[in-house]
């Protein structure tokens, strides 16, 4: 199966299972609203009845400076709270991934909420172990491979004669880091898919399946991964281009802006499901 066909099938699967998107968006929205609410109370308290609120912007230095002055001592607590929320959401997604992949791989079954959460529970233990394992791989990648790359590139940057050399090399360094990261991500995506597709109980064995699978068709797999990344970046560009047109402060603009932002969040979630769906299609089309 060609990679475009894989992508097409993956997209079709995500469209068929669009209920998944709604569910994941609701989870994201509710969680984010809970995180934002204390900050929203502060903003409302400070600006809700002030003229300063009439022209405030998200990246407005003035009110941020004032808030920093007033709530600076609470920054550690706020930062800690946000970090805790982020970790909690990470854990939640380890749980949700089982449901996402489980429902995507179940071609005929409907993505009901009950079936979704049943899959979440079924695969949670294995996915949690895989996530910990991916952490080890990430550390190894950064400590070993990226240090090696740094050892090669950094002296060239440090001894650059002109600015261009420095810019090109440092961006090359960043690009290599991102590509290495994408490979680790991809390997563990396939390992998760192997857990579900092969009903594999041992995570190391599922990782081994994924590695064997990728060994035979690494570049095609990577191309699928990078094409989805490119699609996501293109979508992001479109989002920001349109978002800039919705900058007015009137009620219709605020409403349209809100809807547009939520559509982008759905797009992000959809991209995540496309990764899983397309890779699952590819995995099933070429048993390791």
């Amino acid at each position: 199966m060609g990679i475009l066909q894989v992508l097409g099938n993956g997209l079709a699967t995500t469209v068929r299972k669009s209920r998944l998107l709604v569910l994941l968006w609701v989870i994201n929205f509710v969680f984010a609203a809970a995180v934002v609410s204390p900050l929203a109370i502060i903003v409302q308290h400070e600006l809700g009845r002030s003229y300063a609120g009439s022209n405030v912007r998200l990246l407005d230095l003035s009110w941020r400076g004032e808030a920093l002055l007033k709530y600076g001592n609470s920054l550690t607590a706020i930062g800690g709270g946000l970090l805790a929320a982020a970790l909690l959401f990470l854990g939640l997604y380890v749980f949700l991934n089982g449901g996402i992949i489980g429902r995507l791989l179940d071609r005929e079954g409907r993505p009901t909420v009950a079936a979704f959460f049943a899959d979440c529970g079924r695969y949670f233990g294995r996915f949690a172990r895989l996530s910990l394992l991916s952490l080890v791989f990430l550390i190894l990648t950064y400590e070993a491979l990226l240090r090696l790359v740094s050892a090669l590139i950094s002296p060239l940057i440090e001894n650059a004669r002109v600015e261009w050399t420095s810019i090109i090399l440092s961006n090359l360094h960043l690009l290599i880091a991102l590509l290495l990261l994408s490979i680790v991500h991809m390997v563990f995506d396939y390992a998760r898919i192997a857990v579900v597709a092969d009903e594999e109980k041992k995570v190391l064995r599922s990782l081994s399946h994924a590695l064997k699978f990728l060994k035979k068709r690494f570049f095609r797999s990577w191309a699928i991964y990078l094409l989805i990344v490119a699609g996501f970046l293109a979508g992001t560009v479109v989002f920001y281009a349109v978002h800039g047109l919705l900058a007015g402060p009137t009620v219709p603009f605020v409403l349209l802006g809100f809807i547009w932002m939520q559509l982008y969040v759905v797009f992000r979630i959809w991209t995540k499901t496309v990764f899983f769906a397309a890779q699952a299609e590819f995995y099933r089309a070429h048993p390791y």
């Binding site: 984010a32 400070e46 600006l47 002030s50 002055l69 600076g72 997604y93 380890v94 920001y240």
Partner: protein
């Protein structure tokens, strides 16, 4: 001995070449410099050394004999980790300079020091620590005893030989590969202050410089392939074919420092600032009227602009000159004409980390190969560093002891020029050298807005007027002397009004050109020009660490009932109005409002609070504007001395909002959000902001989930 020194001075006056003097209309206002320098220096590119000889003539202008001379040897700050500079840098958590790496140290050795008659002064040479015993290993200040005290009015001529190791760039001086930026490089006398002695502080981490005005002639020898830019005007070039070296001579009168750069790669471009092309008659007339001066006094001279720029920044050449033209024009119109013939703008050689610094008639800018039009860089740094030439360069306050008089004035002036010439700009933001601010659609700001953000928090630890190295840390130093001082100047501008303020700045600048004014001098000018005592402003806001914050705490209207409950005496009888009667009357009125008679009245209460410790004083008052729902307004003032006050208004309409400082004078107010308060909650932009905040968190969470 005295006779010999005087004779020596006479000879020096005859022998030393006459440096290029500032243009005549300013020279008339200038004092005669107390110092004359002639320096010969050779750059040893292979060993990263400078070999120099310096001849100076110093005149004792005090009314007391002077037994010694004290010199700054700034590069010894980079000699070892015992220097005050590096010890203080080590204590910094945010803005600390890393000490030089092995082999990258810099230093300066005075190998010989003699009077003109050959008397060897080296045996009497000692390093001193004028700022206390905390840094006994510091060697940045040297004292040399004279054979006999120098009488008032007499001069001494000295010859110093020095040998310096150029540091791998530290504090904007040094080298990267074979690119050099050479600043604070020669032995420089301190400033002798009558009754106080030599004012020569150690080189501190959070401090810049202080020196006397002087006439300079500097001969710089470099390998032939090097392009050289320098303070002053280039007057001679001598090529030595046998050594393949070139000697450039630069001269300048009435400057207090001299810096230069040498780089084989950079391009050197010259343009002229032609005043008649840059400034219209209408602009001259407007400025003259604003300042109350004859139009001829505000006319600007032509100036030679020189740019040394890296080849990879070639396409930004016109951008550099446009910014410099704007700076020359507006500083010139507002504060006084630029008095020198040349100004040299250096795009610092790659990795010399010498960008964004000022020296007399020369400054360093700084840019990148990738820039954005919306980000005012390099414009901001060009306008700022050229502006230093007006404050640090001409109104040469002591930057060790009153840095705000330079940095604050320059930061304030930069904002004014940029606003006039360019409008607001986007803050610079890049990722690995690639500008990303335009992609992120960051908002545009005027400088005074961004300055205020730092200014309001800067007050926490130090007053603006602290000595440079006595600030809590580099962040406090920087936020106080730059942004808080600039914000206070803009606040003062708002208080005095534009015409008075324009005259304050012009008077202060022109009166103290070529002098060393202190805060008292500026306060004196403010009081004189404003015609009232504004000393309180400086005491309250510059000398203290008090926060300034007035705000509206409450605003509400209540309808006054036509009937009031209780027992009332009327016509010799006593009558009680009960709750029931009041309710019935209100019900009747609600059903059928009276067609005639007085409309119902509302009592509006506005509570103002002084949240900060600082207070308005003098004739200043806190202004309050109360808006009502029918569009009418009421204004009131409060002396602002108590912690709070209550204002009451009885009108036939309900209140909409109350606002303190409606004209936006008090930019230094730490919380502008509480300056106004409406009765209606939730403004549309706040809703929009909350949706954006939610969206940001949703995206962050989605990003985090990608690691699951």
């Amino acid at each position: 001995m005295k006779h010999r020194i005087a004779l020596g001075c006479l000879l020096v006056a005859l022998v030393l070449p006459n440096p290029a003097r500032p243009q005549s209309y300013v020279a008339a206002a200038a004092d005669i410099p107390v110092l004359r320098y002639e320096i010969w220096v050779e750059l040893d590119d292979a060993d990263k050394m400078l070999l120099g000889r310096e001849e100076i003539v110093w005149t004792n202008t005090a009314h007391e004999p002077v037994p010694d001379m004290v010199f700054h040897l700034y590069w010894n700050a980079f000699k070892n980790e015992d220097s005050a500079f590096l010890r203080e840098a080590r204590a910094e958590t945010l803005f600390g300079d890393e000490p030089p790496g092995d082999g990258d140290w810099g230093w300066v050795d005075v190998t010989d020091i003699r009077l003109a008659d050959g008397t060897d002064l080296k045996p009497g040479l000692r390093f001193i620590t004028p700022d206390g015993p905390e840094n006994p290993g510091d060697q940045t200040v040297m004292r040399v005893l004279l054979p006999a005290p120098l009488a008032p009015g007499e001069s001494v001529r000295l010859r110093l030989d020095f040998r310096s190791k150029i540091p791998r760039t530290m504090a904007r001086s040094g080298y990267y590969k074979n690119s050099y930026f050479i600043a604070q490089w020669f032995p420089k006398p301190g400033v002798y202050e009558e009754g106080r002695g030599w004012n020569a502080h150690a080189y501190h981490h959070n401090s810049e410089f202080f020196a006397d005005f002087a006439d300079f002639a500097v001969h710089i020898t470099v390998p032939r392939t090097f392009v050289v830019g320098s303070s002053g005007k280039q007057t001679e070039v001598a090529i030595d074919e046998s050594t393949r070296k070139t000697t450039y001579t630069f001269r300048q009168s009435m400057v207090h420092d001299f810096a230069w750069t040498a780089d084989p790669r950079c391009l050197k471009i010259e343009r002229d600032f032609i005043a008649d092309k840059e400034v219209t008659e209408a602009e001259y007339a407007e400025t003259a009227a604003l300042l109350g001066l004859p139009i001829d006094e505000v006319r600007l001279p032509n100036i030679k602009m020189i740019l040394l720029i890296a080849p990879e920044h070639k396409r930004q050449i016109e951008r550099h000159f446009r910014a410099l033209r704007a700076a020359i024009k507006y500083y010139g119109l507002w504060y006084g004409p630029y008095p020198y013939e040349t100004v040299t703008m250096v795009d610092p050689p790659f990795r010399t980390r010498s960008g964004g610094m000022e020296y007399p008639t020369l400054f360093t800018a700084g840019t990148g190969v990738l820039t954005s039009r919306d980000v005012l860089s390099p414009e901001g740094v060009i306008v700022h560093e050229f502006g230093h030439g007006y404050w640090y360069g001409l109104v040469a306050n002591n930057e060790f002891e009153a840095a705000w008089l330079d940095e604050g004035f320059t930061t304030y002036s930069t904002g004014q020029v940029l606003a006039k010439a360019y409008g607001p700009g986007v803050l610079p933001l890049d990722l690995h050298g690639i500008p990303i601010a335009p992609v992120l659609r960051l908002p545009k700001y005027f400088d005074f807005e961004t300055d205020r953000v730092d200014a309001i928090k800067a007050v926490a630890c130090d007053p603006v007027t602290a000595w440079s190295w006595e600030f809590f840390n580099g962040e406090s130093y920087s936020a106080n002397v730059y942004q808080r001082a600039a914000t206070l100047l803009r606040t003062l501008e708002g208080l005095l009004g534009e015409p008075a303020w324009a005259r304050v700045m012009r008077t202060y600048h022109m009166r103290f050109r070529y002098k060393h004014p202190t805060k008292a001098a500026f306060v004196g000018v403010v009081n004189e020009v404003a015609g009232k005592d504004m000393t309180w402003f400086f005491d309250e806001l510059l000398e203290s660490t008090m926060t300034f914050d007035y705000g509206v705490a409450q605003v509400a209207s209540v309808k006054l009932p036509r009937l009031r409950r209780g027992v009332f005496d009327a016509g010799g009888s006593r009558q009680e109005i009960t709750s029931k009667q009041v309710e019935e009357a209100e019900r009747r009125e609600a059903k059928a409002p009276p067609q005639s008679g007085p409309a119902p009245e509302y009592l509006t209460t506005v509570v103002l609070r002084r949240f900060g410790e600082a207070r308005v004083r003098g004739d200043a008052r806190v202004e309050v504007l109360v808006r009502f729902k029918d569009g009418t307004t009421e204004t009131a003032t409060w002396d602002g001395q108590a912690r709070w006050t209550r204002l009451e208004f009885t009108k036939t309409v309900e209140v909409e909002s109350a606002q303190v400082d409606p004209r936006g004078v008090w930019l230094i107010d730490a919380n502008l959000a509480n300056n106004s308060r409406g009765v209606d909650a939730l403004r549309r932009n706040v809703v929009k902001l909350l949706t954006q905040l939610l969206f940001t968190v949703q995206n962050l969470l989605q990003f985090v989930s990608s690691w699951s």
